[in-house]
Symmetry: C3
Subunit: 263 residues, 3 copies
């Protein structure tokens, strides 16, 4: 079975940066299999990277290594880390980027990437993705034990986590991500109930505006009117049929979202 390494960065895809990282990985382990999660995280937007990583890593096979680099503090004091959860491995900067993934699957072992034996020689101060993180992921893919990469690191969460609607009467969250289609995705998780779940028994507000609830698919939504929907990651999102909720509502990341049970 081929070993999988996923990549998530804010490098974009038009420069040489992603290719250099991939070359380093394949040089260490020519048999690994690379999958791009995305390279289009907005430059230095740790929160956006954290969301996309958390929304995708868990679909990959057990043992997948996730290399993520959104790293405004490169070359400064922030540390590099490698971590193992129950099913996955993670490599990247210790700046909050892994918070939402670790909220779903807590880390069992975390180390700081301080052992220069597993760096490229003379690492650039401005490109740890290529010179420190990629080699760490490459060596892990060949079976190197995590503790060889450096000493233990105490991982500290930085970002606000998901809010899960269970027994509360209401939950106050916020928009944390806006996707390509203009869907506004909140941090309020509405877990499925046995036999399916609908939003009909909830009131939902975006800022001060009450939202239509009821449509379960984009196609069921009315034209041009924003509605609340349980999205594909069980998070409450605001959508517009055949349109962009972002454009129509004018809302952005940080807008408050309130969910209240009717009964």
């Amino acid at each position: 079975m081929q070993r999988i390494v996923t990549l998530l960065t804010d490098f974009g895809t038009r420069d040489h940066y992603v290719a250099a990282v991939k070359g380093v990985l394949l040089n260490i382990n020519p048999n690994l299999y690379l999958v791009d999660i995305t390279h289009e995280i907005r430059p230095q937007d740790i929160r956006e990277g954290a969301f996309v990583l958390a929304s995708s890593f868990k679909y990959f096979p057990v043992g997948t290594i996730h290399l993520a680099v959104v790293d405004p503090g490169v070359g400064g004091k922030r540390q590099g880390l490698a971590a193992a959860t129950e099913q996955h491995l993670f490599v990247g900067p210790d700046n909050g980027l892994f918070d939402w993934a670790f909220d779903l699957e807590p880390p069992r072992q975390v180390v700081a990437l301080e052992n220069p034996v597993y760096w490229l020689p003379q690492p650039s101060l401005v490109f740890h993705g290529r010179d420190i993180f990629a080699p760490a992921a490459g060596h892990l893919s060949t079976g190197l034990p995590l503790e060889k990469l450096g000493p233990p690191l105490h991982y500290k969460m930085r970002l606000p986590g998901r809010l899960i609607l269970e027994k509360q009467k209401e939950l106050q969250g916020e928009i944390i991500y806006i996707d390509r289609f203009g869907n506004l995705i909140s941090n309020i998780e509405i877990p499925p109930l046995p036999g399916g779940r609908e939003l009909r028994d909830l009131q939902a507000y975006l800022g001060t505006e009450q939202l239509l609830v009821g449509p379960r698919t984009y196609e069921e939504g009315p034209p041009l009117r924003p509605f609340a929907l349980i999205g594909s990651s069980n998070l409450l999102e605001v959508s517009v049929r055949n349109g962009s909720a972002q454009e129509i509502t004018g809302c952005s990341v940080g807008t408050s979202v309130l969910v209240r049970k009717q009964k």
Copy 2:
């Protein structure tokens, strides 16, 4: 030999959607080989997806599985399908997306993806790409027979097909695709003749404007003036040397194209 799955979607590459689909595929078959055709089909533009799929699938090896998702009706009444042609397999929504591929290579067997054994558990109503189509493609890649996925489905063409210039004196077609370079690509196919073929013996019109014919390569075209050319898929296209025919002509998808033999 590794089994190849191509992916064509309108998901874009900055969100987590494509990665989730790939994770599901690799979880079912960790040894398959994924190739992105594109994820930048304009949101919900079935016709654009149909063109890009038809223009690329046939270059892949026999047995390749093509997973295509441009799916404005997700969660509604449209069905999901899996199909086998003489050389390829296809999986995606039954909404016209496969029309132009099937125009080139007709389907021999088509089934509706109705067997929940091959879905992810509790499939999201808004992300069949991840929860129904990807599992179907993944299981096909491990050798699952098509008929296991569901009952036969009668495939019905929805889009107008290619027009092939053979013995007709003239053909009236239209622009069906505009590429990154601004080339206007029509649905009029001009098959190669033994010993090569040129457009010199044809008259070509874009809307009401007669087009220059003669240049066989972009470099042979005159500066700033649109000309007709036989493109790389044998379709008549309108190009401008070192420029964008789209910008210079102001034309868009749907503009009529007329070809008339001079003799």
Copy 3:
């Protein structure tokens, strides 16, 4: 070990062109491993392609084949080539695209792609990437000797090379590339010294403006003020912390850069 083929083009990723090239490659050798360097070189910008290729190829394993297509003269008089350096193979048009890679690793053998046995049948005049270059790379990946592809070709450099700061008192170069983050990258290479190197002992000018020197990382830079930095390829670059040096300076490719030793 899987054989790696990298791809660098100006095709973009929304059309069918890249997928067609990949299909042809996998049809010839279904076991090869494809890595995209980028497909977002600005259309027909040979110099931009040359920079990105030169900045990434050397990280890949020995024996990697680099297929690069930025080809404004397709179908005209420029020749196609395949070349072997000490560690890598290259395939693409002979128009300068390989200059900066060959400046780093000189070609030992170069041939013109004139043997039609290794073309697709009836190659399109406007898509040599698919019909001539991809088959050449595919056959090389199966072990075909270079000389089978055609007769020797004398490679001629076309672009100005890197300027390496060694014993000179000053060097006059220019901005040759601007990356996604707006960093202005010059062709002045400042090789590392034993024990590290800093720019503090240099004066640097962008056009007529003297640049701040001193920060060694993006994070050490002052807010909003452009500074000179040794970038990740040892080239002098102009950056702005948390901002775009391109926007703040208004400079573009071709702006002169001067470096002068203070002592």
